[in-house]
Each structure stands twice: as C-alpha cells, then as structure tokens.
C-alpha cells in the first residue's frame, strides 16, 4: 500500500510538473527577444508581421514600408470602372501598430547584408535581424516595351500598382468621348494577378456599355491563353457583345513599342491609335528582393516550399509576388497564405524546432460585372520541396452556371475583400 501511495504521488508530481517544465522552457525562450524584420507592407508582409505577433508576442517585429497607407490592387479595377472610390481600397497600418504591437517604420530598404544580418534603410538607419522576411512585391520592367518608361506611364498608365496610376486611368476613361478605342496590353507570364487584365477589361467594358456604348476595348496579349479564359470569353459574349476583342500573341497581339507623343501602340505588324491605353508591362521582383543575389537571374526569387526561406541565403524568407511559388499564382490570397506558412516556419526555426507542414491554398475571385463573379481555387501540398496542387481541388467556376451562382460569387468576392483586408491589416 505504502508503495502505491508513494507511486501515485510521484505520478501526480510528474504529470503536474509537465506544464511547469513547459513554462520554464517558454520563459527561457522569451528572454532571447528574437528580432524579425519584415520588408514590404502588402498582403504578404503585413499578414506575416501580424501572424508572428499573434503566435508569439515575445518576438519583436519591425515592418519596413515606405507608404503611409496601403492601397490594394484587389478591387482597384472596380475603382477604375467607377464602381468604388479610392478610400474603399485604402488601408491603415494603425491596426498592426496598436492591436498587434508591430513597429512600423515608413522608409525604404536599400541594402541587405545577409552575413551580418543587417538591412540598410534610405533614411540611413541600419536594422539588425535574427530572421528577415522580404515581401516587397513587384517592379515594372521599364523599357522591355520600347518607349514605355515611368514618364510614358503618365500618358499610358499601367495602373498595376494601385494609387495615383489607378486614378489616372479612371480619369482618362471618364474624359474619353463615346466611340473611343481603349487598349489593354497584357503581359506574358509570370506577372502579378494573372486574371487581373481580364477582370479589368470586363469592368471597363461594363462602364463603357453603360456610359459610352459606341466605344471598343481591345486586349493586346503577349500570350496565347489566359486564366479562366473560357469563363471570361463566354461572359463577354453574353454581357458585352462586340465590345471586347482579344488578340493573342499568335495574331500579332504582343505590344512591342509605344510612342506617347504620337499616341501609338504597336505590335510586330500593327499600329493602333487608342483614346486610352493601359499598358501592363513585364515585371520582376522588386529591387530589394533582387539585392544580395536572391533572384534566379530572371527576376524572381527561388524559395524552399515548406518555409519560404531563400534557397540562396539562410535566414531570409521571401513571400508574395517576388517569390517563385508555382503553381501558386501571384495573388493577394497567395501572399496572405504564404505569410502564415512563413510565420509558423520562422517561429519554429527561431526555436530550433522543425517547421510545421504548410497549409497552402489560393482562391481568386474576378468580377466580370458588378453582379457576375467567377473564381479559381486550389489547395496545395509540398512534395519533395515542390508545391503541388491536390487532385480535384484545383479548378475554376463551372462554365455553365445559373445567374444565382454568378451573383453569389460576386457577393463572395466583395466579402472576401472585406475579410482578407481585415485579416491582413485589422
């Protein structure tokens, strides 16, 4: 009996001691005050900063972002079409500061020292980090289309980084006379937001149909196929018959040259004189992500699929549009999703633990009209450090669906935007 009593007490002591032991480990950990630096405050960077703090408030997180407010590319096409105002796509960093204790520094990162673990900012300050997350998004490749540079974009806007360019394209469409030709030049893959040019064409067509019905919209494409193509094209035939024309690369669709003084847009064989031209040029990872040799030589940054750590330099994670994460598209959802995978992996790595299995997903809604939405979605697994879509999970809305389904997807698109921006910045 005495043995049993003693044993039971010992057992209780042992079991009861478990949480205490865990608490000791945790306290020891928190004393290290790990510093994480996040560069870029879009859907990737802001989400990563927030979710690191949510999971472990002992980690110091600094977010470096030059802009005081974030203006989202998602739903900027609705602004261009006059369906929304700029305020509705503008988001504050106050939530990250006040609710999540993220240090937000409004400056630009100009250099990375991957060995010393330091980042230099354009205000001259130098920030040290234990782990660095780069989520700087894209940079437009000026000059890839002859004559298309930053100055030319003031005449023929790209509107592929939301902000003044979004407003400019909106103003040009408003000022255009009925019967004008609108051109959208779409780039070859890879680029930010694969369905974006086609959603934009749809919503501009909606505006033209309502206000300038004799006008025409021409999509000059540098490729021969695009995402949700059958869904877009069948919707265009039904909603905007004769208004939108798509010219693929094989039919001289690729824009090779613009002349903003003559106001011409040229492909290999054809010259156009549009009233409004939206030139979406080829892109690459933003300069800071290509600093320190983090890119693959073609402008994008290779990463390990489970952790989003650079394959070039340990201690640096790259997420969002700048990273190579095929078959995940360069979307806001992907950036938000990769940010959470990166946050979990990064915390495990700081604790010298194994990174948890990633939960990679994407969903992209596109509006073809205010009450007509379509989507593409997929769930991914990492197999042999490659991202692979799970069979059956990857696909688009049905080609033949009732009006109710299209309306529901439009409503979901709006709800998605409210939820993902709150999840990222709230």
């Amino acid at each position: 009996m005495a043995v049993q009593v003693l044993t039971r007490r010992q057992l209780l002591g042992f079991i009861g001691g478990l949480p205490i032991a865990a608490g000791v480990v945790h306290r020891a950990w928190t004393q290290t005050h790990a510093r994480v630096l996040v560069v870029g405050g879009g859907f990737g960077g802001a989400t990563c900063a927030k979710y690191i703090r949510r999971a472990d408030a002992a980690i110091e997180v600094t977010l470096v972002e030059p802009r005081r407010q974030f203006i989202s590319c998602p739903f900027s096409n609705a602004v261009i079409a006059g369906l929304r105002d700029m305020a509705s796509v503008t988001h504050s960093y106050d939530g990250l500061r006040q609710r999540h204790g993220v240090h937000v520094v409004h400056a630009s990162a100009t250099a990375i020292d991957p060995t010393a673990h330091r980042v230099t900012l354009d205000d001259g300050s130098v920030l040290a980090y234990d782990r660095l997350v780069l989520a700087p998004g894209i940079e437009l490749r000026w000059g890839e289309i002859e004559g298309y540079d930053s100055a030319a974009s003031e005449v023929f806007p790209h509107a592929w980084k939301a902000g003044p360019q979004t407003i400019l394209l909106r103003q040009q469409l408003e000022a255009m006379a009925d019967g004008g030709l609108v051109i959208i030049a779409a780039p070859a893959e890879p680029y930010r937001c694969p369905p974006g040019p086609y959603e934009r064409a749809s919503l501009i067509a909606h505006y033209l149909k309502m206000h300038k019905p004799r006008s025409k919209l021409l999509i000059l494409d540098a490729k021969n196929a695009f995402t949700k193509q059958e869904l877009f094209r069948s919707a265009w035939e039904r909603l905007y018959p004769g208004l939108i024309e798509w010219i693929p690369q094989s039919q001289s669709g690729r824009v090779v040259r613009v002349d903003t003084r003559a106001r011409t847009v040229s492909t290999d064989f054809d010259d156009y004189k549009p009233a409004v031209a939206n030139i979406i040029p080829p892109q690459q990872a933003a300069a800071i992500a290509r600093a320190a040799g983090l890119d693959d030589g073609k402008g994008w940054c290779p990463v390990r699929a489970s952790t989003f750590e650079s394959t070039v330099h340990a201690g640096i994670h790259i997420i969002g549009d700048a990273a190579i994460a095929n078959p995940m598209p360069k979307s806001a959802f992907s950036a938000n999703n990769q940010a959470k995978t990166c946050a979990a992996a990064l915390i495990a790595m700081l604790r010298a633990e194994a990174a948890p299995a990633p939960a990679l997903m994407n969903t992209c809604y596109s509006l073809v009209a205010p009450d007509y939405g379509i989507s593409i979605a997929a769930v991914y697994r990492v197999i042999d450090d490659k991202i692979v879509a799970v069979d059956g999970s990857s696909g688009v809305s049905p080609l033949h669906a009732d009006a109710e389904t299209r309306t529901l997807e439009a409503e979901y698109a709006i709800s998605w935007y409210t939820n993902i921006t709150a999840d990222t910045f709230g």
């Binding site: 043995v3 049993q4 044993t7 039971r8 057992l11 042992f14 079991i15 478990l18 979710y51 959802f333 938000n336 999703n337 959470k340 995978t341 979990a344 948890p356 299995a357 990633p358 939960a359 990679l360 997903m361 969903t363 989507s375 979605a377 997929a378 769930v379 991914y380 879509a389 799970v390 069979d391 059956g392 999970s393 990857s394 696909g395 809305s397 389904t405 529901l408 997807e409 409503e411 979901y412 709006i414 709800s415 998605w416 409210t418 939820n419 993902i420 709150a422 999840d423 709230g426």
Partner: protein, 102 residues
Amino acid sequence: MYFLLVMLLIAGLLPLRAAAADSATARGLALVNACAACHGSDGRSQGAIPSIDNLSAEDFIAALKAFRADARKGTVMNRIAKGVDDAEISDMAAYFAGRPGR
C-alpha cells in the same frame, strides 16, 4: 503491483499523446488560418461568406465532407474541400470546438 504497472504505462504514454494532440491542434490552426483569407480571421466573416467558427464539430465535419463529395452545392468549397483529408477536417473542427469563448 498491477496498479503501479498500469499507472506507469499511462504515464509513459502521456507525453506521446500530448505530442499527437499538439500536432493535430497545430494542423487545425494552420488550416483555419488559411481559411481566414475568405472566412475572416478565426473564421468570423463579414458579408456574404459564411462564418465557420459557430458550427458544432459534427456540422463542420458533415459540411466539408458533403462539399467534398459534391453532395452539397457550393462555389469554391466543392473544390477546396477536395484538397483536405478526413484527419485535417477533424483537426479544424476540433480547433473551433476547443476555442474558448464560444
């Protein structure tokens, strides 16, 4: 002695069981965080997309399995549900069921 053996056996299994529970909870959280992009942080949605934090574990599991089998009509959920297995569905349901304040 028999009691002692049983207790030692249970005690020996405890850390293992705790580790398994931890990894299931972590998996549930990782998946729920992914879902948050559409369904809202912690599964609480604003607007037309349904919240998913207010379902019982049974209803959550039944809904996802029905979407996966195309027995329930959804939009993206008929696709997304085909990307998760039974254990992951249970892990998500358990995460929501185990959250305080519900």
